[in-house]
C-alpha cells in the first residue's frame, strides 16, 4: 500500500457521495507525511471537526501546516468561487470586461451552482500547486457527486460552455437582430425566437452579457482544461476509487472503474470503505453470550446481514481487476489525527495477516 504513495506525485480520490472520500484522503496524506514526504492534502467541504483537527480554518483559502503530525503535512480547503474569480482576473485581457462578468447576475448564479465549475477550480488549484513544485506529494479530494464518473465528465461539460459558436450566437444575435437573419440559418433564428418567447427579453439581455464576458476568457480556459487532462494522464498521477458497501454504490463503482480505465487514467486502487465490522463473522453460540438470549438474537441478526453483504462484495471484487483494500467499519466517528492514523494501522495489520486486500 505504501507503494501507492511512493510511486505517485498526485493521488486523486474519487467516488460517489458519502463513501468517506474526504476522510480517506486525509488519512492517506497523513501516512505520506509520516513516510517523510512533504505532502499537501486538498480537501473539499470537510466536516468541521476534521477541519479543526487538520488546523484548517473553513473561511480562509490558505495552505496551512497541520501541527503534530510527525512529518510535513499541509492542508487546504477548496474555495471554488474565489479561485474562479482569480482565474478570470488573471487571464482576462480587459479588466473592465472581467469585472463586468464577475458582476453579471447569471455569472453569480453560476459560480456556485454550475455543474463542472467546482471540478474545474479544484483542478485549477492542483495545476498552480504543481507548478510551484513545493510539495513531494499532493492528495486531492474531489467534489461531492451523485456518481463517481461525474468528476471525469466535468471538464467536458464545462468546456461546452465555452464553445465559440454558442458564445458568438448569443452575443451577436442579441446585439443586432437584423444581423441574425443574414448570418444564421432560419432554424437557428426560429429557435432563438422560441427561447425569447418562453423567457422574456430581460433574461435574454442578461444572457447576452454573460456570454460576452465569457468570450474574453474562453481561450485561456480551454487551454487550461487541456493541460489539466494531460496532467491527469501522467503515470505519476494515480486515481483511487473509494466506495461504500451497498449494492448500488458498488454498481456505480463498477461502471466508473471500467470508464476511467477506458479513458486512459491510471486507476490504482479500489478502497472498500466500512466493509466489515470489527468483530468477525462466525459461529458464536448462545453460551458465548452467557445465555443472554436477547444479545444472542441481536448478534444473529447482525451476523446474517454482514454475511449476506460479504456475498455481494465477493461478487464485486471478481469483476474489478484492480487491487483493492477493505477498510473495516470503525466503532466511532473519525476526525482526529489519531483516528486517521488508526485507519492505516488497521489496514496494514490486515494486509500483513493476508486479509482484506489483494495485490496490495
Amino acid at each position: 500500500m505504501d507503494k501507492l504513495i511512493e510511486q505517485h506525485k498526485i493521488l486523486i480520490c474519487v467516488g460517489s457521495g458519502g463513501v468517506g472520500k474526504t476522510t480517506f484522503s486525509a488519512s492517506l496524506a497523513l501516512r505520506s507525511a509520516q513516510k517523510g514526504y512533504k505532502t499537501l492534502v486538498l480537501t473539499i467541504d470537510p466536516s468541521k471537526r476534521l477541519a479543526t483537527s487538520l488546523g484548517l480554518s473553513l473561511d480562509k483559502p490558505e495552505v496551512v501546516e497541520v501541527p503534530k503530525t510527525g512529518g510535513k503535512l499541509f492542508a487546504s480547503t477548496l474555495h471554488s468561487e474565489k479561485i474562479f474569480e482569480e482565474f478570470i482576473k488573471s487571464v482576462s485581457k480587459n479588466p473592465l470586461k472581467a469585472q463586468k462578468l464577475l458582476n453579471n447576475r447569471l455569472y453569480r448564479l453560476m459560480a456556485t451552482s454550475l455543474s463542472g465549475s467546482q471540478e474545474f477550480t479544484s483542478m485549477e488549484m492542483l495545476m498552480s500547486i504543481i507548478a510551484k513544485r513545493e510539495f513531494d506529494k499532493v492528495i486531492l479530494d474531489t467534489p461531492p457527486a451523485q456518481h463517481a464518473k461525474d468528476f471525469l465528465q466535468a471538464p467536458e461539460n464545462f468546456s461546452n460552455l465555452f464553445q465559440e459558436s454558442v458564445i458568438k450566437w448569443f452575443i451577436r444575435s442579441y446585439d443586432n437582430m437584423g444581423l441574425v437573419k443574414k448570418i444564421f440559418k432560419k432554424s437557428t433564428h426560429l429557435a432563438l425566437k422560441v427561447l425569447q418567447r418562453l423567457t422574456g427579453s430581460e433574461f435574454m439581455e442578461e444572457l447576452s452579457d454573460f456570454f460576452e464576458g465569457l468570450s474574453d476568457i474562453r481561450e485561456a480556459l480551454l487551454e487550461e482544461s487541456q493541460k489539466v487532462m494531460c496532467l491527469l494522464r501522467e503515470p505519476t498521477t494515480g486515481f483511487v476509487l473509494v466506495t461504500g458497501f451497498d449494492a448500488s454504490k458498488l454498481w456505480d463503482a463498477l461502471s466508473f472503474s471500467s470508464q476511467i480505465k477506458k479513458q486512459g487514467f491510471g486507476l490504482r486502487y479500489v478502497i472498500l470503505n466500512r466493509a466489515f465490522p470489527q468483530w468477525k463473522n462466525g459461529e458464536l453460540k448462545l453460551e458465548d453470550f452467557g445465555g443472554e438470549k436477547w444479545l444472542f438474537d441481536l448478534y444473529v441478526r447482525f451476523d446474517r446481514f454482514y454475511q449476506k453483504r460479504k456475498e455481494v462484495y465477493l461478487d464485486f471484487v471478481k469483476k474489478v481487476d484492480v487491487p483493492y483494500i477493505l477498510v473495516p467499519e470503525m466503532n466511532k466517528d473519525i476526525y482526529g489525527l489519531e483516528d486517521l492514523k488508526k485507519i492505516w494501522d488497521k489496514v496494514q495489520t490486515l494486509i500483513d495477516k493476508g486479509e482484506g486486500a489483494e495485490n496490495a
Binding site: 427561447l195 433574461f203 453483504r309 466517528d333
Partner: protein, 291 residues
Amino acid sequence: MEMNLKIVTGKGGVGKSIVAAALALRAAKEGKKTLLVELGEPGFLHFLFHHSPREGYQKVSENLYLDCWSGEGSLREYVHHWVRLQKVVSLFFDNPVMKSFIKTAPGLRELAIMGKFTSGIREWGPPLPFDEVVMDSYSTGHFLSLLRAPRGIYEMIRSGPMGVQSRRIFEVLKGPLTQYFLVALPEQMPVQEMKELDQTLQKEFQISAQMVINKWLEIGSGEERLSQLALSLEGQAREFSVFIKKRLQRQREVLESLKGDQPLFLPLVLDMDLLHVVQTLSSYMAEQWTS
C-alpha cells in the same frame, strides 16, 4: 384533494432514496395517487424497483408510480406544452447551438425540474395528475442549487413569463404544500451537516424542514445490562457487545446534539433485500409518525 409535494435530501450514503421510496409507498397505501421521482439519470430507484427506464412515469404498485426527471427532458416537455408544434420543438432542441446552450445555461435545468415539480399546484404547464409527488433530490450542495435557481432567476428578471413563473415556483416551494425531509445517520458528521443545512434553509429561504435520523438501533432495556456484559464476556462475543455499546453511545451523543430539534426516527433494518427495507420503513412511518 390538494396536491402535496415532498422533497428528500441529505448527505450521500444516508439512505435518502430508501426514505423517499418509503414515504411514497406510505402515501400510496393511504390511497393517494403518488409519484416517486428520481433526478438525473435513472439510477438507484429504478434498480430498486427492478424497472428499466422508459419515457414517462410507470406504475410500480397500487397507486405508486415511478419516474425519472432530467433537466433537459423537463425543459423539452415544457416547451412542447407551449409551442405545441412538434416540428418547432424539434427544431429548437435539435439545433446544435441550442443543445450546448441548454447543457450550460446557468440555473436553467434546475428551474425546469422545479417547474415541473410545482406545475400541478401552479396549474401551469403540462398536467401532473397526482395527489402526491415525492422527490428523491440531490444531496446537500446540489439540492441547494435546485432551490436557489428559481429565486435567483426571479430576483434577476422581474418581467416576462420566466420572471413571473420563477416567482410562483419559489412561492410554492416555500408554501405549506411542500415538505422537506433532511435525512442523516445517527453519527456526528452527517448530523452536523444536516443541522447546517437546516439552518441554511431557515436563514436563506425561511423554510422549516423535518429532520429524520435513519438506521436507529433500539434495544430497549438491554442497554444497562450491555455495559456489564461488555466486561464479562470474552472473545468475539465481547467484541460484538463493544460494537453495540459504542453504537448506542454514538446515538446518545447525537441525541444530545439535537436537543431542541424534533427529529423523527427510522429503525435500523438489517436486510439486504432493499425492497423489503422500504416496506418495513413505510409501515413504521404509518404506525409511529403522526403527521
